[in-house]
């Protein structure tokens, strides 16, 4: 535990709320944390696991920036207590690229399509897209828009994001970029 984490835990203990031990897997690594029960999964991912690629926008489930995969299913990490993640398998944006840093096809395609501007929303869009393509490798444009309707972007106007998903579909089917 780092000094920052120790002092945080000391402050949390002083609030009188429950302190819980939670074990789960993050991007393939077994992880155990001791945190106050009110801490959300998103806060624990960012502050205890030090994986700051998961972004927090609204913190009440509207914007989708904090979307991660929980047992392969897209989920809002801000609407889940870390305690509820006991025994679960979590995948964050940091878990998409290969061990040698090679980008996931969805990351590469989104970059190629200029699907980012400020990129605050991008981790959520990418995790939602990975979940969509995992289940439906060849979605229609309408299906892409419907699936991504739970993620907000204030920069791109969405067109380049949808283009990025369509490009990813082509790459993942083995076609040309």
């Amino acid at each position: 535990m780092t000094d920052t984490q120790s002092s945080r835990l000391a402050a949390e203990t002083a609030t009188g709320g429950s302190i819980v031990d939670v074990s789960f897997t993050v991007n393939g690594s077994a992880t155990s944390v001791t945190v106050e029960a009110r801490r959300t999964l998103s806060d624990v991912i960012r502050e205890d696991c030090e994986l700051t690629g998961t972004h927090l926008g609204c913190e009440h489930g509207v914007c989708g920036a904090c979307t991660v995969l929980v047992d392969g299913q897209p989920s809002r990490s801000c609407l889940m207590l870390a305690a509820q993640a006991e025994g679960r398998d979590i995948t964050t944006i940091e878990g998409l690229a290969g061990p040698d840093g090679e980008l996931h096809p969805v990351q590469q395609a989104m970059m190629d399509a200029h699907g980012f501007q400020c990129a605050f929303c991008s981790p959520g869009f990418l995790m939602s897209t990975v979940a969509l393509l995992d289940e439906n490798p060849d979605p229609t444009s309408e299906e892409i828009r419907e699936e991504l309707s739970g993620n907000l972007c204030r920069c791109t106007g969405y067109q380049s994001i949808v283009d990025g998903v369509e490009r990813a579909v082509k790459i993942m089917k083995g076609g040309s970029k």
Binding site: T15, G16, G17, S18, V20, E36, A37, R38, T40, D43, C58, E59, H60, G61, V62, G64, T67, V70, Q73, P74, S75, R76, C78, L79, M80, L81, A83, Q84, E86, S128, A131, E146, E147, S149, G150
Partner: protein, 290 residues
């Protein structure tokens, strides 16, 4: 946007969960999928001293069918219901509703019974419950009782559930082979809470409407049926004229509360428009000319 501190309980049996509720009562909230409770706590609109998480209890995510009636346990997630063959076959209105409930990343965690117990007047499931006349089972450490749909929703985010009870079952009655239904809504963004929406069911035999339910969400302090409009449809053939007449009654009867997203007048107008749209969509599904 962080929840206030609370004592967290993660019981492994339903009996243990009920004992905790019996002990802590008004001070406790039940946590299932958390998609309503966690934001409420983050916004500090709710400050339970105790949170009883049902997540470690086995056997609460069952979907069963008996004589055509479909029952759901308290940990059935919306997405699980969305993909259930049993629901698709025996509770088509529930299946029709699921894609309207929030977004997939919320449906994967949020539970159907949690949405019902939360009783948000703008949510779809309470309207489905009152439209179908579903039966709700509330369990406490002193036993269980059944509550009729019409008795369940008492006010804004307020239900007949007592603080020591868990909503353990919802049972949708057998779906008549002659019934048709639709769910239509107007929302600012697909998957958001609707400004107004309506769950419509019609039972049609020999081109005559023999039963009707029009259950509105986002239109009052609870999900609400407009019986005068339903009665106006019964006994006649489904037609555009009959639907418009029902819509006029609805727009006159409902007085939806205003908020930043829409005035009362706009929502009344929407309720009328959606009445015709919902009835038309319901009969379109079987090709009855409207």
């Amino acid at each position: 946007m962080k929840a206030p501190p609370f004592i967290y309980h993660r019981p492994e049996t339903l009996d243990d969960a009920l004992a905790l509720l019996a002990e802590h009562g008004d001070e406790a909230k039940v946590l299932a999928g958390g998609q309503s409770l966690i934001p409420l706590m983050a916004l500090r609109m709710g400050r339970p001293a105790h949170v009883v998480d049902l997540g470690a209890i086995d056997g609460l995510a069952e979907i069963t069918e008996a004589d055509g009636a479909v029952s759901l346990g308290p940990l059935v997630r919306h997405e699980q219901a969305n993909r259930s063959d049993v629901i698709a076959q025996h509770a088509p209105l529930v299946a029709q509703t699921m894609p309207h409930v929030a977004h997939r990343a919320i449906r994967t965690q949020g539970t159907v019974l949690g949405s019902i117990a939360h009783g948000d007047p703008a949510a779809e499931m309470p309207a489905v419950v009152i439209a179908t006349g579903a039966t709700l089972t509330a369990t406490s450490s002193s036993g269980e009782r059944t509550i009729a749909a019409a008795e369940f929703f008492e006010g804004y985010l307020d239900t007949a559930l007592r603080s020591d009870e868990i909503l353990t079952d919802v049972t949708f009655p057998a779906w008549p082979s002659t019934a048709v239904s639709s769910v239509v809504e107007v929302a600012r963004r697909h998957g958001d809470y609707a400004l107004v929406g309506v769950v419509t069911t019609l039972d049609i035999t020999d081109d005559i409407v023999t039963d009707a339910a029009l259950a509105y969400f986002g239109a009052a302090s609870t999900a609400i049926r407009v019986s005068a409009a339903e009665q106006s449809l019964i006994g006649s053939s489904p037609s555009r004229e009959a639907f418009d007449a029902a819509a006029t009654i609805v727009a006159a009867e409902l007085a939806p509360p205003a908020d930043i997203h829409g005035s009362t007048a706009y929502r009344k107008h929407l309720a009328g428009v959606l009445t015709t749209r919902g009835l038309t969509a319901a009969v379109d599904s079987i090709g009855v000319p409207a």
